[in-house]
Symmetry: C2
Subunit: 278 residues, 2 copies
């Protein structure tokens, strides 16, 4: 079990981390109606905070919510976390208690799960699982909240549980027409020749990954060109290197897809990992 280490609530500041402060009718709880970000804390500071706040603001707007200023709250929470220990800063905004009608916002800092740290060194086995949608079905349907990081993650969690029950470490969602999309909590990034590539977010409705974006923006430091394109699962088996990138686990090299081992690409992983600082 993880221990909640730090809790800061907007309007209240730092309070003991195990304080119950959410009411029974908070729409974040009863409807998963809210947004969040998980941010890597390194050297006592949240990494890529601007990018996370920008995405959280966009997610909130998709739900007709306004993101309150959370920069100070994030700093408050991180100030109570040991500077020499990596951590997970989570920022949460909900539509709030139905009876009060004001949004709920808070920040927590927790340890990085041991399994996440192990995945960076050891890699992961993934299974592909259908997301049930054709690759472009969500493009012009804003009510489906594609690209928003909402609190409604039950399917994300269930997909990971299902993959793990089958002996994998994580899942990769695919469209009904055979294209790779994203992991339930991560972005797909691969190297193919001189390209460092990921799946386009706007066309497919996947979450625009912040770590993936950072990697592509810095592709030239690895002598590579950044590319966004669709890829089938079949093609994915043949690329030079493939990872799931995310904010907390950072970089997870994929060892096998649906039980089929991939070639070794440890040298690529070492270079990408160094670039990301994980």
């Amino acid at each position: 079990m993880r221990v909640v280490a730090v809790l800061a609530v907007l309007g209240r500041g730092l309070i003991p981390a195990d304080t119950p402060f959410i009411k029974s009718d908070d729409l974040g709880l009863t409807r998963g109606d809210g947004v969040f970000e998980s941010i890597h804390v390194r050297a006592g500071r949240p990494w890529l905070l601007d990018e996370h706040l920008a995405r959280m603001s966009a997610s909130a707007a998709t739900l007709d919510l306004t993101l309150p200023p959370l920069r100070e709250l994030a700093a408050q929470a991180c100030s109570a976390w040991p500077g020499d220990r990596e951590g997970v800063l989570k920022l949460v905004l909900t539509r709030g208690s139905e009876s009060l009608g004001t949004p709920t916002a808070y920040a927590t800092v927790n340890p990085v799960p041991a399994a996440s740290i192990a995945a960076r060194d050891n890699g992961i086995k993934i299974n592909t699982l259908s997301l049930g949608v054709p690759v472009e079905a969500r493009k012009d349907a804003p009510w489906l909240l594609a690209g928003a990081k909402t609190l409604s993650y039950a399917i994300n969690m269930a997909t990971q549980r299902y993959a793990m029950a089958k002996g994998a470490d994580d899942a990769l969602w695919v469209s009904t027409d055979g294209f790779a999309l994203e992991g339930p909590t991560s972005s797909l990034v691969w190297r193919s020749g001189s390209s460092l590539a990921t799946v386009p977010a706007a066309a497919t409705g996947i979450l625009p990954g912040i770590t993936a974006r950072f990697a592509l923006d810095n592709a030239s430091s690895m002598g590579l060109q950044a590319t966004e394109r669709m890829i089938t699962v079949e093609e994915l088996h043949a690329v030079d290197a493939v990872w799931l990138l995310s904010s907390i686990r950072g970089i997870a090299p994929i060892k096998s897809i649906d039980g089929v081992p991939l070639r070794d690409f440890a040298a690529d992983t070492a270079r990408l990992r160094a670039m990301l600082g994980f």
Copy 2:
């Protein structure tokens, strides 16, 4: 704003309704990872409680959760609610606080929203909106949680907001291949000749509606035969009567679909409404 009127928490019993008792790391909040039921309270008692508990147990199983006995908790909550006033009993089960590792379960009773009561008399205008999925894409994909009533309702709420922003009262989800599915918080039921019909849940992944089930099980009392079948939106415009049924609003006659008025079927509505007791 609605006022939370009654709150009973499993293991604590009745406590003041505005007590904050949920922690920041409750997975029901941070991941929408839990299940719920909304149950109509009439004459001081929850209507169709057995059916709701059975569906909640099935929803929980889909999420690898075990439903604790909630019958006594439901009775406790209802005992504190005025017997002459209809109400909404909500039962909630979450995976619980990550730090504690034990599920959270509670019951609330609130007034029925005024808009729900008005919809029974006045009917509703609905807009069709894509759910982004082919009609049978979720059939063999248990990780997509089709048919489970989870706390991850952000898309359901966003779909209703989108429809309302366009001047409708509610939405009807349709598949990418043109079949009517369900409302974000209701089931589609229609009369066509001597059939009282709804959409099959198992094949399509929609939530099996309890009020719709009750209506079909009692169709013979209206001289009708119960039918489950797929229907296109085009066909729906031509049926004899069409409603959205749900546990709290009960029966909402559909006045128009995508701005196109339907024929008058007030006599059907009166008979179905009497059968349902709303």
